[in-house]
Symmetry: C2
Subunit: 112 residues, 2 copies
């Protein structure tokens, strides 16, 4: 019998939020609160289809809401972060902070 | 004509390193330098198959190397982080540090 090994903090990262594009979307929205589809697409270097799919995931999970509107001639979709989305980003950042702490403690500053 | 919008730092995250399980593997190895398959599996809460597939990706990309050995009766696989792997983890951490900076500047501390 050996004691159970402790789980690494990164084992608890939430893929809904950690996934690169979705983390980017939430980070942009945390800065601006609301952003339109085209701005998100450009800022994160995503295609229409890709951004659309990731937004679907984030709407389903309650992290963002969408609002359709128009800007004179153009139809626009505005995306806003929810309180739950902000909380999830905060939890992710807290876990990443632990990772950075580990990296700082253990990085020998050389190429190993 | 409008000026091109700046890309968000997260647009440049490297999926090879950012993906949850692989980031976990590299973070554990940066701490311990070398770890065996079973330890990684337990620490990160992964299945054999899952860990095996992620290690294949990291070996292919030059971030880790594998060494087979035995520990008395048991066959073991040791995993070691390479200089390139350590550098990639450092770049990821640097990008995440920018994200934390953004989050700190913009987090209103309320549920917004």
């Amino acid at each position: 019998m050996t004691a159970p090994e402790p789980r690494h903090p990164l084992a608890d990262l939430d893929e809904t939020v950690h996934q690169r594009a979705r983390l980017g979307i939430l980070a942009v929205l945390a800065e601006t609160r609301e952003a339109d589809f085209t701005h998100l697409k450009t800022a994160l270097g995503l295609t229409d289809g890709n951004l659309g799919r990731h937004l679907e995931v984030l709407v389903e999970s309650g992290h963002v809401t969408l609002r359709k509107g128009s800007d004179g001639r153009r139809r626009r979709t505005w995306v806003r972060i929810t309180a739950q989305g902000r909380q999830a980003l905060r939890s992710e950042v807290e876990l990443l902070r632990q990772l950075l702490h580990i990296a700082e403690l253990t990085d020998p500053g050389s190429g190993a």
